[in-house]
């Protein structure tokens, strides 16, 4: 009788457990429907995160708070060494809390990075912030548009922007980390598609097993591309299987480290034109595009759309990387191909929202487009942008020629400048011309040269008939200014990562 009673009790316990489990699934569905997803199991979570989220229950919050207090204290004392680990633990304790991820990443990338004078130290902290979101936050919350936008913002503002003194270093370091994987501005999508989809399939390729064995025999881990890339001897690089192996490893490393999907990248290029994937604007575009796909409310939709066209706008201004073979030159030049997409983005956004800042942004962009296209000798397109500007904003000068408008735009009232100001403007324009000539962009060099001549003439015209005024406030001859600009160019060196 006692045994029967025990069995009955066990049975009842098991039934309750089963019932609770079934009911929990229903509860989760209801929570999902209502958008209360804190109890939703974390996706793609490693065992440690899954374990802590389940076993610690409500105590997670208390532990996260204590760690947060410690993190703030250490930051206040200028002891930054532990902060990466603390941010890691705090986010793992609250893996579904968007603001926690966003704050921790922002804190690492912004607040802490600027505490270091050396650009390489700053870059390390910016990377910590990006990695926290890109490699973990988004991995556990793939459908969270706000996290995707936060990541996009780090690329768009921290790296692509110019507010940080070390922004050039960041851009260069990002480009140099991507260049060896992409072998240029963008991957060969067709070739990447033709590669084996995974390691198992790669090992089935003819001659691959032998190459992998040879790599192992040379004391290298074939699945660590950074090691193989740096140390593989020439005879291994001549192996017939090497091209497939190296292309596969480049793609795999690219996907793993930068968390970018080639399929999505290709879709982005189909929609918004070719991008230079070594530049931060392409990455902000990518994450904004991903956010747009999963956006649930109006705020997320509007924010992602804005980030898309802001990234495109930035790509139009500085979306093409110009480097010479020894990488001593690092210049960001306009990507003119994306112009139609930027215009389209603005128009769609303005149709969606009455916000006056959008109209101001569009007007400013059109001014930039006129100037950039003009300096690229794209007179027709520049004229068309000017026409669009005049249609959009009737207060804009409706009568001046394109040349006059650009001249006015660039130099303002150049005649009224002081001698020093005019000298620096003309010399600066000539410097630009030399810079672009050195970068191999003859069209743009010629555009700046032409502009410098016009500026010089505009400033000097009223002084030509007044020798005294010319003597006192006149500019040096153009040839002399050109030599000065050349000297300045030789002296200028951008920081090396």
């Amino acid at each position: 009788m006692k045994r029967l009673y025990t069995i009955l009790l066990y049975g009842l316990g098991l039934s309750c457990l089963f019932g609770a489990g079934r009911l929990n699934l229903h509860l989760l569905d209801v929570r999902r429907e209502q958008g209360i997803t804190q109890a939703d199991p974390v996706e793609n979570a490693p065992p440690l995160v899954a374990f802590t989220t389940v076993t610690l229950g409500g105590f997670r919050g208390i532990i996260a708070d204590l760690l947060w207090l410690r993190s703030s204290k250490l930051q206040e004392e200028g002891r930054y060494f532990e902060l990466v680990q603390l941010a890691d633990w705090i986010t793992k304790l609250e893996p579904r809390f968007t603001e926690v991820w966003a704050y921790q990443a922002w804190n690492l990338a912004y607040n802490i990075s600027v505490m270091f004078p050396a650009p390489e130290d700053r870059w390390r902290w910016v990377q910590h912030g990006i990695e926290l979101l890109r490699n973990e936050g988004i991995r556990y919350n793939p459908g969270d548009a706000r996290l995707l936008l936060e990541l996009g913002w780090l690329y768009q503002h921290k790296i692509a922007g110019t507010l940080d003194d070390a922004h050039l270093y960041y851009k260069r370091a990002l480009a140099e980390s991507l260049e060896p994987l992409l072998s240029g501005a963008r991957p060969d999508f067709q070739r990447w598609k033709a590669l084996p989809p995974n390691r198992e399939a790669l090992q089935q390729v003819k001659g691959m097993a032998s190459l992998l064995d040879r790599l192992r025999a040379a004391d290298m881990d074939p699945w660590r591309w950074s090691q193989v890339h740096d140390t593989a001897p020439r005879e291994l690089r001549l192996d017939p299987a090497w091209p497939v192996y190296s292309a596969f490893m480049k793609r795999e490393t690219f996907e793993r480290v930068f968390a970018l999907s080639p399929e999505t990248m290709e879709k982005i290029e189909d929609t918004y034109g070719p991008q230079d994937w070594r530049l931060p604007t392409s990455h902000s575009l990518y994450w904004a595009y991903r956010a747009r796909q999963v956006a649930r409310d109006t705020y997320e939709q509007v924010s992602s759309r804005r980030m898309i066209f802001q990234s495109l706008q930035e790509a139009f201004r500085r979306g093409r990387l110009v480097q010479n073979p020894d990488h001593s030159l690092f210049l960001l030049s306009p990507n003119l191909d994306v112009l139609p997409y930027v215009l389209q983005g603005y128009r769609e956004a303005m149709a969606e929202s009455e916000n006056p800042s959008l109209r101001d942004g569009y007007r400013n962009f059109l001014w930039d487009a006129v100037f950039i296209l003009y300096t690229y000798q794209e007179q027709t397109k520049a004229q068309s942008m000017l026409d669009e500007l005049r249609r959009f904003d009737p207060t804009v000068d409706q009568t001046s020629s394109l040349d006059q408008v650009v001249l006015h735009l660039f130099a303002g009232r150049v005649e009224q400048m002081t001698q020093e100001e005019a000298t620096s403007v003309v010399e600066g324009t000539l410097l630009q011309s030399l810079l672009w000539a050195q970068a191999g962009d003859a069209r743009r060099a010629a555009g700046f040269e032409q502009l410098a001549v016009q500026l010089w003439s505009t400033y000097m015209d009223p002084r030509m008939n007044d020798p005294q005024l010319r003597e006192r406030t006149g500019l040096p001859p153009l040839m002399q200014l050109r030599q000065s600009a050349a000297l300045r160019l030789r002296e200028s060196r951008s920081p090396q990562p």
Binding site: L48, G78, R79, Y80, F81, E82, L83, V84, Q85, D88, V114, M115, F116, P117, R124, W125, H128
Partner: protein, 456 residues
């Protein structure tokens, strides 16, 4: 002595039989083995050193402290409940010997575990640094990387006497407003004087005298560390000129550096610069073009770090300090276990541990004082509630103060030398003073306790 050792042996066996203690040891093993594999530093070797030492060793010490407290409580209160202590107290053994035996047994067990954990952690750290150095292609050795430095702060008089003088003058001249207590005014005057001393406006100069201890290695660079705030909002760097002079006023070094406000700024000095000198003068000139005032932090505005000793030497010193703390926790557990029943003793011991860990907070609350009604300034304003709370915090702070001190693990992780004076102070106060006091209290209580009564 024989009886002490016999009791110590029993205490060790009892600790091994406790499930709680065994669970804590299992956690200890997991921490030592797995934690170093999972923790992430900021990507620098200095970060690796700090985080490995702080986390692996810090958690091990925390667990051993808990286990020590628990074992201490169980050794007396637990044994009274299980009636095993009766077998000992009925024998001709002095109560002090019982205390000593139990303390020694638990201390030997936990102390040896602490030493083992420290050795494993250090070996793992050494191995990891070795690998990182190899991977980075640097030429520095692990020994140099872990080299410990002594921190020298400027030799400057306290601003307190001057602040008191000013307060006296203000009170005499009836310049202190009625709603401001003298203590509050004193704090304001201290801040004002510190500000006057540490603020450097554009083109202004600030000087410090630094006494120099001898450096143990002349091939390693001494380092100047400074922290400041600026009158500008944000972290915009501020250009400054640093001139280092000998006692005759001859400039030994003159360099420009842009200091970042609120950050920890560093200047590595040439290794031979300070050799053979016993004092130097440092001069800072705010050389920026813009009208920005720089304010050096009063507590850690300027510190000179001088190479002082090898890491194992500092590790040994920090181990002595940790063993001292561990011994105190065990003694506290034994005392609590003697005076109270096991659950009460465990709860009180845990509370004591939390108080010690939060000593900084308690100290802070005690220092946020308003004038007390029994102070010599009857003009003091404030409510009785505030006085009461302040009084409680002051009593707590006074009680906890001897049990706390600087954190040896923090010093170890930051590469700061644990000074001989610190070591002697800690050994005398915690090891001899507090443990001795607890031993006397416990043995007295044990001799007066009527063990074996119904209900015990």
């Amino acid at each position: 002595m024989k009886s002490v050792l016999a009791i110590a042996g029993i205490a060790i066996r009892s600790a091994f039989r406790s499930r709680v203690v065994l669970s804590l040891f299992a956690m200890l093993l997991a921490i030592i083995v797995f934690l170093p594999m999972t923790i992430r530093s900021d990507g620098t070797m200095q970060g690796t050193i700090q985080i490995m030492l702080r986390y692996a060793l810090g958690l091990s010490f925390g667990i051993l402290s808990l286990s020590g407290l628990w074992s201490g409580c169980a050794a007396v209160a637990g044994e009274i409940e299980s009636r095993t202590l009766h077998l000992v107290v009925t024998k001709p053994v002095r109560s002090l010997s019982i205390w000593l035996g139990k303390w020694l047994g638990i201390f030997l067990l936990h102390g040896s575990l602490l030493v083992i954990c420290s050795s494993i952690s250090t070996a793992l750290l050494w191995h990891r640094l070795d690998r990182e150095i190899e991977a980075s292609g640097q030429t520095v050795s692990v020994r140099d990387l872990l080299y410990v430095h002594r921190e020298v702060q400027p030799d400057e008089p306290s601003v307190l006497p001057e602040a008191r003088n000013r307060l006296r003058e203000e009170i005499a001249a009836q310049q202190v407003p009625g709603d401001v207590s003298p203590d509050q005014r004193l704090r304001e005057l201290i801040q004002q004087l510190q500000l006057e001393r540490n603020a450097v406006s554009r083109s202004g100069v600030r000087q410090w005298n630094l006494p120099l201890p001898p450096a143990s290695r002349t091939d390693l660079s001494p380092r100047l560390v400074y922290r400041m705030s600026s009158s500008n909002v944000g972290a915009e760097p501020i250009p400054g000129r640093w001139i280092l002079r000998d006692t005759n006023g001859t400039a030994l070094m003159d360099i420009e550096q842009e200091g970042i406000p609120t950050a920890v700024n560093q200047i590595d000095l040439p290794p031979e610069l300070l050799a053979g000198r016993d004092q130097i003068t440092l001069e800072y000139i705010n050389s920026g073009d813009r009208p920005v005032t720089v304010i050096f932090h009063p507590a850690d505005g300027l510190i000179l770090q001088i190479p002082a000793a090898d890491f194992p030497w500092n590790l040994a010193r920090s181990l002595v300090l940790m063993l001292g703390q561990l011994g105190f926790f065990i003694a506290a557990g034994l005392t609590a276990g003697t005076l109270f029943s096991f659950p009460v003793a465990a709860f009180l011991s845990l509370y004591l541990m939390i108080m010690i860990r939060t000593a900084g907070y308690i100290q802070g609350m005690a220092n946020r004082v308003v004038a007390t009604p029994w102070s010599d300034q009857p003009e003091a304003a404030g409510s009785w509630g505030t006085y009461l709370l302040t009084g409680i915090y002051r009593i707590l702070a006074a009680l906890v103060q001897p049990m706390t001190g600087h954190d040896p693990l923090q010093a170890l992780a930051l590469g700061r030398l644990i000074s001989t004076r610190w070591l002697i102070d800690a050994v005398l106060i915690q090891g001899v003073g507090l443990c001795g006091l607890l031993a006397l209290v416990t043995s007295f209580a044990l001799s007066r306790k009527e063990i074996g009564l119904p209900g015990q």
